[in-house]
């Protein structure tokens, strides 16, 4: 009787043992799926978010640092400077005069110049990481023209247009010898301009001022001033010569 009872007890203990082992196994598996895996997942998601936020904070810090390196007065002055190259508006008559003056400077003859009053809207979309941040209201006026002259003069004229910082674009440039030593230049000049923007969203993804290019802008300004001074000196010298001759 005791022996039978003992055998039954051993069997019962073995069953209980197995059940506990199974339960523990299940708890381990459950804890892997309910806690450990979601935590690992969460960890990597958080890590990605932290990296994004770190980058954003870094960009914002850079933006503030860059912005605070200029005083409001300096920004105003630089903006006025930039208007010489990319104005807020273009007077079509002034544009014609400019081309005419440069052409005269190189002894070129303007055969055809059409200035279209119609402006083109060429908005530029600035995108951030996911969405569009702002659309820049860029506009342009196109001026197809044809002029004739010496090959070297036409190339110098083109180099002057290309070398200046003014916001001009050229489509197809065609230089053809029409007669002996007479060349014609046909091209479509597009002059860009952009009105002032009053509403700008606060975002770290908007472009910063490239300080290197500000130097280029200042150099260009110095060059222009020097050439204007030289021109004035030449005019004065010319006037003195005329007076002496008289």
């Amino acid at each position: 009787m005791t022996k039978k009872y003992n055998t039954q007890k051993e069997k019962f203990e073995a069953i209980i043992d197995s059940i506990i082992s199974i339960i523990l196994g299940l708890v381990v598996i459950l804890s892997i799926f309910v806690f450990i895996l979601p935590n690992i997942n969460n960890y990597f998601k958080l890590k990605k978010k932290i990296n994004e936020q770190e980058l954003l904070v870094q960009k914002l810090k850079g933006k503030i640092e860059n912005m605070n390196s200029y005083s409001t007065q300096e920004l105003d002055n630089l903006y006025q400077e930039s208007l010489k190259y990319l104005p807020e508006n273009i007077n079509i008559g002034d544009m014609g005069n400019t081309i005419n003056q440069i052409a005269k400077q190189f002894n070129l003859k303007i055969e055809r110049l059409s200035l279209a009053e119609a402006t083109q809207n060429r908005p530029i979309k600035i995108k951030g990481q996911k969405k569009e941040l702002i659309t820049l209201p860029l506009k342009s006026i196109t001026a197809p023209f044809l002029m004739t002259g010496q090959k070297q003069d036409l190339l110098s004229f083109l180099d002057l247009l290309t070398g200046s910082l003014e916001a001009r674009e050229f489509n197809t440039i065609q230089l053809i010898e029409t007669k002996e030593n007479v060349w014609s230049l046909r091209l479509t000049l597009t002059h860009l301009y952009m009105p002032y923007i009053y509403e700008i969203p606060i975002s770290a993804d908007l472009p910063n001022i490239n300080k290197g290019f500000i130097k280029v802008l200042n150099n260009q300004e110095n060059q222009t001033q020097n050439s204007e001074l030289n021109n004035n000196e030449n005019i004065q010298t010319g006037a003195e010569n005329t007076t002496t001759n008289q």
Partner: protein, 186 residues
């Protein structure tokens, strides 16, 4: 002196001792398992909570920086109006090239032919018109231009004719705009 005592405790059989130690061993094993599960769960949660604190700190810093910008909104608008213009001017300058660079290279390469036309498009499509006095010279000029592989991506003979001893011929192809831009910037 020797005292003879009476054993009040029941005698334990060896089997019972074995059973008792087995029970203890099992209890220890199960406790260790449970402890292990708890530790693993805690360990998996610690890095997550550290990252959460880090993220909260970063978001706080971001909020402060944005508030700083909002306080200087007028300056921010002025700054970006200038930044947009500077970037645009920079892009335009970078995309420009001097036609004189191309003319210079062509004129120095095409001897004994003489160039009569240079056409270049924004996309790099190019047409070069030349004239000479013999087909062989025309062929030599074309092949000389073809040696300028860094400048011309393709350059094909488009047409040629014989007009009273003069051989005008036209080459069409594509130039490497970046090459002219680089040599222009140099």
């Amino acid at each position: 002196m020797y005292y003879k005592g009476v054993n009040l405790l029941p005698t334990i059989k060896e089997k019972q001792i074995k059973q008792y130690s087995t029970f203890n061993k099992k209890l220890l094993k199960y406790s260790l398992w449970i402890l292990f599960i708890i530790i693993i769960n805690l360990l998996s949660y610690i890095p997550v909570s550290i990252q959460k604190v880090k993220l909260a700190n970063l978001q706080k810093v971001k909020k402060e920086l944005l508030a700083n910008i909002k306080n200087q909104k007028e300056k921010y608008i002025k700054y970006h109006n200038l930044a947009f213009r500077i970037n645009l001017l920079e892009n335009i300058k970078r995309s420009r090239f001097y036609l004189s660079q191309l003319v210079h290279i062509v004129d120095n390469t095409t001897y004994p032919s003489v160039a009569t036309q240079y056409t270049i498009g924004k996309n790099g499509h190019v047409v070069i018109g030349l004239k000479t006095d013999s087909f062989i010279k025309a062929s030599v000029s074309w092949h000389k231009l073809l040696t300028k592989q860094e400048l011309f991506k393709t350059l094909n003979l488009s047409s040629f004719s014989n007009q009273k001893g003069t051989i005008p011929f036209i080459l069409k192809g594509e130039v490497n705009i970046k090459f002219i831009q680089n040599s222009s910037n140099d």
